[in-house]
């Protein structure tokens, strides 16, 4: 037997410490819960929750279960994260490119934006938008319509909604279009590799995306009408809009703050990525006769994306986690609905906090596993 004592000792000690700490916590938790008369278990999830949620994507009221409350919170978190990610990407890419501009004014403006918004705590920005900026909006009865159909008021942002007939046919047609585009791409690539002929993939893709959904209108019988929000008097002084989609001010403030804050980081990622492509690459590409557009598309962007995507994904993840700050302005996200209201009602701290943490944890671990795989795939394979 050849035990390496020097290696074994620290490991055994670590295990002992970990076991001791966990044992201590578990023992105390058991004693505490016995004293308070709570039994550990997740059975409460199917119990009737007797609270209401202000804003939810799925139907919810007091008669639904706690599990459904969890779903409501999760969906709201996903909603604000997706809105935030889309906005942040758009702003971030524009600002990142502006940072690289040779125009002094544009470059400075972008730099000031980045320095300003990333040096102020996100929570403060959320408060600013929610309590200071959005409170300056007009009351519903005094709101001026934008383009005749959008209403931006202190009670939220009201936009027209689509009312669909046979929505499923339309969705199937889009899915079919996407699948056929993938096939066309594979075919085009094969053709180029074997015969050297280029196929106009872009035009075919656009055509497919237009024609197949159009067919669903003509043949599949799907159709839609637009519902415009209408002012309605609730009581003597209280007005609101009915019909259409109403986005609550909490959602707007949160999405604005999240996207403006995260966009600064994405802008820096984009800048670093484009700057990270060597000057020699561009010059070499230009010297073999590629046009500036081709240089950008075929040489700079593929290399820049390799640098841009990993940190940007990290920022998306940060944005999703930061969306939990919603609890501060009472936007009903996972933390507020589940770790706030539901916890207060049931008193099951351990179960609820652990579920909440596990949800975020599994989300970020999934993304980081995917990122590791992606990084390995796009890494430059050196001999």
């Amino acid at each position: 037997m050849n035990f390496n004592f020097k290696k074994l000792l620290p490991q055994t000690l670590t295990i002992l410490v970990v076991i001791l700490v966990f044992g201590f916590f578990t023992y105390n938790a058991q004693v505490n819960m016995e004293n308070r008369g709570i039994a550990f278990g997740y059975g409460f999830l199917s119990q009737e929750s007797s609270f209401d949620v202000q804003f939810s994507l799925i139907e919810f009221d007091g008669s639904h279960s706690y599990f459904r409350a969890y779903l409501v919170g999760l969906l709201n978190t996903i909603l604000v994260s997706v809105i935030g990610i889309v906005l942040a990407t758009i702003i971030g890419v524009v600002v990142g490119i502006a940072r690289l501009s040779k125009n002094y004014l544009i470059e400075r403006t972008a730099a000031v934006y980045v320095e300003f918004f990333r040096n102020i705590p996100l929570l403060l920005q959320i408060f600013f938008w929610y309590f200071a900026a959005l409170r300056a909006l007009p009351l519903p009865q005094k709101a001026e319509p934008m383009l005749g159909v959008f209403f931006l008021t202190i009670k939220g942002f009201f936009v027209p909604s689509f009312v669909w007939n046979n929505l499923d046919v339309f969705i199937y047609s889009i899915i079919a279009a996407i699948i056929s585009i993938i096939f066309v791409r594979i075919y085009a690539k094969k053709k180029q590799e074997t015969e050297g002929k280029q196929t106009p993939v872009l035009y075919i893709s656009i055509g497919l995306l237009l024609i197949l959904p159009l067919l669903s209108f003509v043949l599949g019988g799907s159709s839609f009408s637009i519902e415009i929000p209408v002012l309605k008097q609730m009581s003597q002084t209280s007005f609101t809009y009915e019909g259409g989609i109403g986005l609550p001010p909490e959602l707007i403030a949160l999405a604005l703050a999240l996207s403006l804050y995260t966009a600064t980081f994405i802008a820096e990622c984009v800048r670093a990525g484009v700057q990270g492509v060597g000057k020699g690459q561009k010059e070499a590409a230009a010297s073999i006769g590629l046009t500036p557009n081709q240089v950008l598309k075929l040489v700079v962007m593929p290399q820049a994306l390799r640098i841009i995507i990993p940190p940007t994904t990290n920022q998306y993840l940060n944005l999703t986690k930061n969306s939990s700050l919603a609890a501060a302005i009472a936007y009903p996200d996972l933390v507020l609905v589940f770790a706030g209201t539901a916890l207060m009602q049931t008193g099951r701290a351990i179960e609820i906090v652990s579920i909440t943490m596990l949800t975020y944890l599994s989300l970020s671990i999934t993304i980081s596993i995917f990122m590791n795989w992606y990084n390995k795939k796009i890494a430059i394979k050196e001999k």
């Binding site: 290696k7 620290p10 490991q11 670590t14 295990i15 970990v18 201590f24 916590f25 105390n28 938790a29 004693v31 505490n32 819960m33 004293n35 501009s101 040779k102 125009n103 002094y104 004014l105 544009i106 403006t109 320095e115 300003f116 040096n119 102020i120 705590p121 996100l122 929570l123 403060l124 408060f127 600013f128 309590f131 200071a132 900026a133 409170r135 986690k321 930061n322 939990s324 700050l325 609890a327 501060a328 933390v335 770790a339 916890l343 701290a349 351990i350 906090v353 652990s354 909440t356 943490m357 975020y360 944890l361 989300l363 970020s364 671990i365 980081s368």
Partner: protein, 480 residues
Amino acid sequence: MNKLNILTPDKNNLQAYLYTGILLFFISIIDVSLSSFFNINLTSFLPGSISFILPLVLGFIGLHLIRIEYSGIKQLDLLNKNINTNSFNAFLSLIIIFVIIKSLPPLLSWFVIDANIAGDSKDACTGSGACWTYIKIWFNRFMYGMYPNDEQWRINLSFISLGFLGTVGFFATDKLKKYLTLYYVVIYPLIALLFIYFFISGGPIFFDFSYGIIALVFSVILGFFIPSKFKMYYFIIVPITIYILLKYVFFYEELIELGKLESLEWVETGAWGGLSLTFIVSFFCLIFCFPIGLFLSLGRRSDLYIIKYISIGFIEFWRGVPLITVLFMSSVMFPMFLPEDMFIDKLVRVIIAISLFEAAYVAEVIRGGLQALPRGQYDAAKSLGMGYWKMHIFVILPQALKLVIPGIANTFLALVKDTPLIFVVGLLEIVGMLNLAKTNPKWLGFAMEGYVFASIVFFIICYAMSKYSYNLEQKYKTER
């Protein structure tokens, strides 16, 4: 005279193009400035939309006319190169200039001209601008929270002395420089802790841990005289012995009683708040999260599998959850894990939670630095006969940490920006105090001023930190 061609300005008629272009450009700027500062519309005789667009068109033509390459005039070339390279850039430049001119008057009037600062009640704010009176009256609260007014000198004293002690590094002679790391990593935080405990909190002079501190100081002083061969055993055995001797054999109750008599008035951590709390929380979290992160990153790269996987699990766990749930855990779930008679102060719990959370991020940053070092460095150190710790302390970490200064600075910035989240457990630092002040019935409706004030404060702190880290990075940059 050559023929003038408006569409393609050239060098031959430089003067003509130059004067016309500059004239048009200035007319457009003057028009916008007049309408923005003095509300005079020069072109009011034109229909609304045309009079709105006119300056843009004039400026655009003007910039087009002066876009002459290699004109020979230095300023003009500089201008063309920087804001006027092509039509699209000229258009964007004009828009930015106009937006700045247009937004200056309202901003100025809100911040300065129409703002109020005199008086000491809400009635003093009559102007349409900001009400800085609100900030002036609440300034004390924003800085010190609910800390008693008469006792605030204690916070000031502690911060000023800690600030001075923090600058020791700049005055150290070369001989003392090698002890600076020890000073900043061990001694300075300890002094800070004592300051906070005795002054800001007003704790009794002798408390349970003071025996430990006395034991440590004694053994460190004695340690200089011990041969290096036995140092490791010495530092494990002697402090513990002294501690036990002090605590259980010599004095115990008497000193505790004595200490209580001498102490300052006790101020609960619940009353602390404002900017000073932001500083306290960030300071201690910074100090704690760095060593924890360092050990985690070493653990993650260790050959010992159990330590490696425990480190990975720990890091990924904290990195995967939002800080707000961690704080929720520390406030709601953590008390369940402690014995019933054991109570840990709210502030301490928060500091532990944030430190562990940020340590995971620090660990990942440092790991990046460790990975960036070439293998040769490890091999060279090993071939000199260095052990694991010697190799890391003298060869690997100095190089790796230099590489990751920007990353660590970013993590620290994130930490400072995360401190407002402690409102979750009911501690009110500056943002929390703002929210409290905002709901005061006597001072309703000044949310904007408060948030602008806090934004400026945070911006100054964070911007200074990021500039400092940039300087540090430049200073320690080594060519490789």
